[in-house]
């Protein structure tokens, strides 16, 4: 059975200038121990989609329709308190900016112990503190750092702390929202290695949100590509990278910088559309070099093809 199944999820932001659909008809499946990366440009809806899973949408965002089945239970129908109990214990989240994601006024240990006690995962504060320092050790930070305040640690160390906090109660699913974007490249690689080894050790599933398709190619089992609030292509990582079906995926791969290829970098013509007023038909058609007649008028339906799902008129 799949760990997580997202079915026809629609997410709206109610803005002063009207409703904005940030995620449209998204469907995804994630197996136990699988690593799925959701790739897309900023504003494509990838973070919104990921944050909706543990109920962390920021207002004015809200789920308009659809289901999120996690371990057989629909998260969208849960009360706030039920959802709170799942967060931190069964679903862990790592955020983009480790510098602002820790409470600057409290020690790391205090913040960890609080969460452990909220989930009644320890009988005493002392035991919780031991768990906290063990969690720090597991991400390569000396256990006595529980006494440190966030400002006493570097950016990379803080992201390790955030990861320790997310995995300390052994969740089945870890959502990492651009966890390395705020860090320098060398730290980036070590954080990704850490996530990979934690995944192996604990057998958890990971959803990685990233704009970096090259990074996703290295670490993921599956890749989902989002464009203008829609999932345009989804499938096994290798296949998506080697033989992209959707013209947008292809363009995204072509526009990734490559150290060994001395060419001017490809860039997709035009700009991502305004979601308040999306283009008719296929949302990518104004920027697509393969666009033909039906693209302008009809919305492409997601089609299963060669083990993948793709929403493009070229394939049906």
């Amino acid at each position: 059975m799949a760990l997580l199944r997202i079915e026809d999820l629609n997410i709206d932001y109610m803005t002063l200038r009207g409703r904005l659909r940030a995620v449209k008809n998204a469907s995804l499946t994630l197996g136990e121990g699988e690593w799925l990366s959701i790739v897309g440009e900023s504003g494509s809806g990838k973070s919104t989609l990921a944050m909706a899973i543990p109920g962390l949408l920021l207002p004015p965002g809200r789920i308009a329709s659809g289901r999120i089945i996690f371990q057989g239970r629909d998260l969208t129908g849960m009360s706030r308190d039920e959802l709170r109990r799942i967060r931190g214990s069964e679903i862990g989240v790592v955020f983009q900016d480790p510098l602002t994601s820790l409470d600057p006024l409290r020690t790391i240990g205090d913040q960890m112990v609080e969460a452990i006690m909220e989930h009644r995962a320890a009988d005493s504060k002392r035991e919780a503190l031991e768990m906290a320092s063990a969690a720090l050790e597991s991400v390569g930070i000396p256990g006595n750092r529980v006494k440190y305040y966030p400002h006493q640690l570097s950016g990379g160390q803080r992201q390790r702390v955030m990861i320790a906090m997310a995995v300390m109660l052994k969740p089945r699913l870890l959502i990492a929202d651009e966890p390395t974007t705020a860090l320098d490249v060398i730290v980036q690689a070590s954080i990704m290695r850490l996530l990979k080894s934690l995944q192996r050790k604990m057998g958890m599933s990971i959803i990685l949100i990233t704009h970096d398709i090259a990074l996703a190619a290295e670490v993921s089992d599956r890749i989902a590509v989002m464009y203008a609030a829609e999932i345009v292509e989804e499938g096994p990582a290798e296949q998506v990278i080697e033989e992209p079906l959707h013209p947008y995926t292809e363009a995204l791969i072509k526009s990734t910088p490559d150290l060994w290829r001395e060419k001017t970098l490809y860039s997709i013509p035009g700009n991502p559309p305004d979601l308040r007023n999306p283009p008719s038909g296929c949302r990518f058609h104004p920027r697509c070099h393969k666009a033909f007649e039906p693209c302008k008028s009809r919305e492409p339906r997601p089609t299963r093809i060669r083990g993948r799902t793709v929403a493009c008129h070229l394939y049906g």
Partner: protein, 337 residues
């Protein structure tokens, strides 16, 4: 902890230059104001020149300026602010000892009222941001902020004293009630001497002035708490708390602590201003504090008294900023360098 102690010691030492600068300023201003202070203090009364000369001699006004400057400074170090120009033989320090406790009592009471109301309304507004309740709180803050103290005071006196007859209209204590003065804070004195009749009466006298001053000052807190807390509530670390499954009520406390620094800053500023005396409140309720004292002394052109009050006030400002710095350090570990 050693870092904290060093930090506070450094801040404490900073009080000395603060007071010195203020004292020097007042000293210079007093000397460059045209006219003779003794003549001014006596007003239009005719006093023979020999006697004027005698008065000048007595107050040391014939000494060279630097002698006057250091003589007075030496007095300040012993909590001696000189002698009144108007009332012969009256020491300014004694006046301050008489009047300051009244101001301190009113300051503490109105501080509790303003911070209590301000925090409660500000937190409500921030938590329910964008709701009707939020709008109501914001309207409250503007109205409270713009109220004129004598007007609000009179209205409250009219309702609670004249119509309902619940509370006294003015003063600190019914003259028929005797109370042994230990600290000069009547409420505290009554508790210390277990004089419950006096306690009830002192509290009754305190309610209206504290409420009037407290309400007017609370509006600014409402705004400040609302702005800072609602910013903290959408910050990344709050979302991270939520992601770990921490209860909303606890998250609110953490966010509140993170939004407290500017609030504490304003508390300090207001406290400092209040300790200088709330002139309008004191005159409305005939409250015998520093504000009305200073007003009397300015009107009487009692130069030494004005100078003494200002120097005393600079000590208070220094003390308050030391306390504020200590609270900063308690709230934010990054300040304890």
């Amino acid at each position: 902890m050693a870092g904290l102690a060093r930090y506070l010691l450094l801040r404490a030492l900073l009080i000395i230059p603060t007071v010195l600068i203020l004292y020097t300023l007042v000293f210079v201003i007093m000397r460059v104001i045209p006219g003779d202070p003794v003549q001014a203090a006596l007003g239009t009364r005719y006093v023979p020149p020999e006697q004027l000369e005698l008065l000048r001699e007595r107050h040391g006004l014939n000494d060279p300026l630097y002698v006057q400057y250091f003589k007075y400074l030496a007095g300040v170090a012993r909590f001696d602010f000189g002698e009144s120009l108007v009332i012969e033989g009256r020491r300014i320090a004694d006046d301050i000892k008489d009047r300051f406790p009244a101001t301190l009592e009113l300051t503490i009471a109105s501080f509790i009222v303003s911070v209590g109301i301000g925090m409660a309304t500000g937190i409500l507004a921030a938590v329910r941001r964008g709701s009707k309740l939020d709008t109501a709180m914001r309207v409250y803050s503007i109205v409270a902020y713009t109220l004129f103290i004598p007007w609000l005071g009179s209205i409250l006196i009219m309702i609670f004293s004249l119509w309902l007859g619940l509370l006294p209209t003015h003063g600190r204590l019914d003259p028929r009630i005797s109370l042994e003065h230990k600290t000069g804070l009547y409420v505290l004195d009554a508790i210390l001497t277990q004089n419950w009749v006096a306690l009830k009466d002192a509290l009754a006298h305190l309610v209206l002035p504290a409420l009037t001053l407290g309400i007017v000052l609370s509006g600014a807190y409402t705004r400040l708490v609302r702005a800072n807390l609602s910013e903290a509530l959408v910050s990344d670390f709050v979302r991270a708390y939520r992601a770990r499954g921490v209860r909303e009520r606890r998250i609110l406390l953490h966010a509140l602590r993170n939004s407290l620094i500017p609030v504490v800053t304003m508390m300090g500023l207001q406290m400092a201003i209040l300790l200088g005396g709330a002139v309008l409140t004191e005159t409305t309720f005939s409250w015998p504090g520093m504000g009305s004292y200073l007003l009397e002394k300015v009107e009487a052109r009692d130069y030494t008294a004005v100078q003494g009050v200002v120097v005393f006030f600079s000590f208070m400002v220094g003390l308050i900023s030391l306390i504020v710095d200590a609270i900063y350090a308690l709230i934010d570990p990054r300040i304890r360098y």
